[in-house]
């Protein structure tokens, strides 16, 4: 039998993670289209996404540590797949940010760093962005149950409760 990882998060941690993920997803969609958003928004938003990603990793820290410890031992297939995929996503994200900084036209020149624009970095940036989209899709798919359950618990149910809750006067009668 393979061992499953059960990491307990507090409701506040879980809802924070959900909101962070929603923000990350929306920001990712905007940054994926620099032609429409403009290069300045693309660059600054991408750097902000990096900071939010750090928070996302910090909130998943216990899971990362426990899977890292058990990776070579007994571990469920889903956790193992998830772990490998998350590392690939991290490496791809690193490549995306580094290649983005290398071809930056707004952020880096603003802090006084001028880099010669290399075609290879540009190609790597495009490739890692496309690869990142696929990886994000797989990451979402592997966490689909969590997304549906958390969405239901922290967004849909509270809103539904607002409409279905009886007014206090009726309850008193």
């Amino acid at each position: 039998m393979s061992e499953e990882i059960a990491v307990k998060n507090t409701p506040i941690q879980t809802s924070t993670k959900l909101w962070l993920d929603i923000i990350l997803f929306l920001a990712f969609l905007v940054t994926m289209d620099p032609r429409s958003s403009g290069i300045a928004i693309h660059e600054w938003l991408s750097l902000a996404v990096f900071a939010v990603l750090m928070l996302h990793l910090l909130l998943s820290w216990d899971w990362i540590v426990s899977v890292s410890r058990r990776f070579l031992g007994k571990l469920g297939l889903q956790n193992r797949l998830n772990y490998i995929l998350n590392w690939l996503l991290f490496i791809d994200g690193t490549l995306l940010i580094i290649s983005g900084l290398m071809i930056s036209r707004v952020a880096m020149p603003l802090i006084g760093i001028q880099l010669p624009e290399g075609f290879a970095w540009r190609r790597l940036h495009d490739m890692s962005a496309n690869f990142g989209l696929i990886m994000l899709g797989l990451h979402t798919a592997l966490h689909w149950n969590w997304i549906v359950n958390t969405f239901n618990r922290y967004l849909i149910q509270p809103v539904a409760r607002l409409f279905t809750a009886k007014p206090k006067k009726d309850a008193a009668v």
């Binding site: 990712f28 403009g38 750090m54 990793l57 490549l95 970095w121 790597l124 899709g137």
Partner: protein
């Protein structure tokens, strides 16, 4: 303090991968331009033939020779606006949705089938 340490670990791993990538790209020698012909300046023949093409009339300010940076030719500036952004977002969301369906649907079908098999076996007993 614990959080700070964790942030430091993430940044260290990020820096290590970044360094590896920069070294890798520089070592492979492709960081410079690899467009065929890029980097070499176009020069007309010694007799001045070949450029500009006959009949070409640059503007009075000479701007006709070179497209301005930041225009449509620059690639990534203000192409589609809000509508373009919306279309791009829909397209990317569709790609993600397709991947989610491709992974989640077979999994849920298998789970349902297994549950039905278990149910039929218990009713048969």
């Amino acid at each position: 303090m614990k959080t700070l340490g964790r942030i430091l670990i993430i940044l260290l791993v990020f820096a290590a991968f970044s360094a590896l990538m920069i070294v890798g790209v520089n070592a492979s020698g492709v960081s410079s331009s690899s467009f065929p012909g890029e980097g070499r300046e176009f020069r007309p023949g010694a007799d001045g033939q070949g450029f500009p093409p006959s009949g070409f009339q640059p503007g009075a300010d000479g701007a006709g020779f070179r497209p301005e940076r930041g225009g449509d030719h620059d690639g990534e500036r203000g192409g589609g606006g809000v509508i373009g952004l919306l279309f791009g977002a829909i397209k990317n969301t569709l790609v993600i949705a397709l991947l989610v369906v491709a992974v989640v649907l077979p999994k849920s079908i298998t789970r349902k089938k297994r549950r039905n098999d278990a149910l039929t076996s218990t009713t048969a007993e």
